[in-house]
Symmetry: C2
Subunit: 501 residues, 2 copies
């Protein structure tokens, strides 16, 4: 039986998918997982070329190509251990292809002529790695116009009188890292290379998701929502945090085909919920969930390389203490206010400020803080409790690209974008309120800041750790859609949900 | 209650381990997982220094140090996505420390004075990554003599009148990759560096496991055996291969604390069982297990960075067909013969030949091959069916180091070591028999090889795919111990075991 989410999609894959994740034009992991039509990437190519031709029509010469280089298989240190390959994301966005060692060309012409260059494999690849497929096979899978071997890349370009190659080089304005420019033998000698124009254009294309991309993200979010609920049903006082990580990952993989998570699972309980990026190798989710332990679980599964990024916060017992309820509701107020306000044209800095105000108001009401709201804001009390940005674009990267291109305003502290919202952006909304020892110590040592704190009341809360509520939100024409809305989110919903198990 | 395997171990960790994987001198993930005494690494340091001083006493100057550089946190491509950190293995063997960005020194003196150099973290590390611990804290955990900051490395060495620094540089003879020499500001200007002596000595030390190392490997093997059995109970015709991967990984993590696997899981069913390294990103365990599908599942869990490497082969239905039984028993014969013959002094090339002979004999008996056994061997028919080496050292790497140092013989085709066995080596025994299309086609096209094949009989077997039986074996003083012996291994045991579920 075809799952509802796959209705109307090409039936051809039912048979061929017994043997592979691919069939002509589709990626699919069987069972009830999503059939992804790989025409998604053809649409991406067409969008990119159209944007390039529109914005740079006076400078793009005839026979110009976009050139992208995919990721390479790499070994760990000096060993022959090969970590599971993850494709470079610009390349994946453009071609949807998971093969290491590829290049891709997209002609800057009306047809957005696409060429996938794959490595020519030695015969013994078949013994170790699997069947060696023909160029025609890959052409049918990935819906490109031509498949060639990487060794023929230079000849192909010469044969097509290639003039300028457009590449990505330089600062990724989101991560601060530098993009390594593609190269192949003979490139610089034989072709003009323009590496300044492509990055902002392709980044902007990646910001605006197509309906097909949204469908894949929606699926990754559904998988993650389902796995978070599974964890909420499973969690018990006395469990190790990593058992929850294991439950999440297994649920998302076995039932939803998500082999990877978009980022290392943060399964923070007790005081660890105040550590924003807990869960890394140095803090490997190794604590025992204590009786009054508050859980902050930030985990997102990936499908066809698109990822979700969701945080659920709840008491391990399933029953909020009065203090936990106060802080949770402060964050929930912020989340609800932001999601209600989100629509095209709204600036993200304003959304961050809105969230901060909601949290500060709630802390004032709870008598943890005192004074005037505007004074609190002005004196930076918000970032003592809410020291990270409200959210970030989401897509093939957890922190997706494009936060600082186009109409962005200057970077302000920890915000990951400063742009106005547009329809079909997907962005996380993740207000948080934390009791972080060193930030509180700093604030209380500051003669101006300290006067806003009611330290006696504050003491009742410091052991909560922190609360974060993170949803994945699609901006629509008139507002927005919370893709992760099926999670229990109010204290009452959470208590009701966890009571059953 | 203390688990049997942890009896007699320091009780101190019971409390502190609620909050961490560490307590002074121990690594432990709670519940029934293994408490690893970190004195294991102190013993490693002492062994290494003692070996260096013995073998190079005439050339090692006073105040010489071994210098190792740990791994660094790295981002994926140009993003800020940080894959889960894995420590460089020489460094880990010496210090047992999972922190990125460290250096380590071991004095080439009688006390094997140890210095762990850790990065000085910025204050906001506490907000994002977790508590910043003191140097004293790490000293107590890792049982080193001194902890310093990396920025003080040069001063420390100067203050101790360091003469020569011994480093690793050059070809890793096991992987064929090149080891990147450690470096820090001022190293080459201020100190003599010897990068030719250390590699063979430290590699040899890693080959011979201490009782404490064996205990950790034994635990990783127990975890993997338990998880393989769980998969054998769970597998059903019609399941996707990746569901089995997910079951294995979850079982080993949730119940045994194994966050990582030593290598990408190979869950090969149907014809995929003839692909030796199936399961990578290009062939991601995505087939549906068919009615006559033979499963070859090669998976190993890792604990405290020591890994298991185990393969189970069985029919998905739990019932062998006559042909599957013939091939399975051919491989089992080889495995039994090798494990019976293994003891110190035996050469690994001879073990490989013994396994190959067993397999060829069985194929002759089954009438798939014809002719004289010695002629088959001489004409390379063995590697048509068994194209990989019999096994490899196992430890912190799946393909552990030291296969080609010491008394090794020249490399021969696919063997991963050519050495004589010694007590306390841990090595995999993994004979296999596969029907690999392109190898069979090659052989049948060869006028000499073709005459050994009974092609009509061969046809009955080609759809099996392949069989591999892989155990992890400790060489003892008088023979060997199969650490993975608790798996059902004969056809009868497997059928009996799988019948129950």
């Amino acid at each position: 039986m075809v799952h509802k989410r796959n209705e109307g999609k090409d039936d051809c894959c039912e048979k061929t998918h017994h043997d592979s994740q691919y069939s002509p034009g589709y990626y699919w992991l069987g069972n009830d997982t999503l059939k992804v039509p790989l025409v998604l990437h053809k649409e991406n190519r067409e969008r990119l070329v159209s944007r390039m031709l529109t914005n740079h029509k006076d400078t793009i010469e005839k026979n110009s190509f976009i050139l992208l280089e995919g990721g390479k298989d790499e070994m760990s240190y000096d060993t022959d251990h090969e970590p599971l390959f993850k494709q470079e994301r610009y390349f994946f966005w453009t071609f949807g292809c998971e093969i290491p060692g590829c290049y891709g060309l997209v002609g800057l012409d009306d047809k957005a002529t696409s060429v996938l260059a794959i490595p020519k494999l030695p015969a013994d690849y078949a013994t170790w790695m699997g069947e060696i497929h023909s160029k025609e096979y890959y052409k049918s899978i990935f819906l490109v116009d031509h498949v060639i071997y990487t060794e023929d890349l230079q000849d192909y370009l010469k044969g097509n009188n290639a003039s300028t190659l457009y590449t990505i080089l330089g600062l990724n304005t989101d991560s601060g890292a530098t993009f390594k420019e593609p190269e192949f033998p003979g490139m610089k000698e034989n072709f003009k290379v323009n590496n300044s124009v492509l990055f902002p254009e392709i980044a902007e294309c990646r910001v605006i998701k197509t309906p097909k991309e949204v469908e894949v993200i929606r699926y990754a979010v559904d998988a993650s929502v389902s796995a978070h609920k599974h964890v909420m049903r499973t969690v018990k006082v006395g469990m190790k945090e990593y058992e929850c990580e294991s439950e999440f990952v297994h649920h998302a993989y076995k039932n939803w085909g998500c082999r990877n998570v978009g980022y290392t699972c943060i399964c923070a309980a007790n005081k660890n919920s105040a550590v924003l990026h807990y869960g890394h190798a140095g803090e490997p989710n190794a604590s025992t969930i204590s009786e009054h332990g508050f859980c902050l679980f930030d985990m997102g599964a990936e499908y066809h390389s698109y990822t979700a990024d969701i945080t659920c916060s709840f008491p391990a017992t399933g029953k909020f203490s009065p203090e936990q309820r106060v802080i949770y509701n402060a964050v929930l107020d912020a989340s609800v206010a932001v999601i209600q306000a989100m629509r095209p044209g709204v600036n993200w800095i304003d959304m961050h400020k809105l969230a901060e105000r909601c949290i500060l108001e709630a802390l004032l009401k709870a008598n943890i803080l005192k004074g005037d709201l505007l004074d609190l804001v002005k004196n930076g009390i918000g970032s003592v409790f809410f020291p990270h940005g409200l959210g970030h674009f989401l897509g093939l990267n957890t922190h997706d690209v494009g936060g600082f291109v186009g109409d962005c305003k200057p970077k302000t502290n920890s915000l990951r974008t400063t742009r106005d919202l547009k329809a079909n952006m997907v962005i996380t909304v993740e207000p948080g309120c934390y009791f972080i020892k060193h930030l509180l110590t700093q604030a209380l040592a500051d003669p101006i800041k300290v006067q806003f704190f009611n330290q006696q009341e504050l003491q009742k809360y410091v052991n909560i750790g922190g609360v974060r509520i993170e949803d994945d939100v699609l901006v629509t024409e008139n507002g927005c859609e919370n893709l992760s809305k099926d999670l229990p989110r109010t204290c009452e919903e959470i208590e009701e949900f966890m009571k059953k198990y």
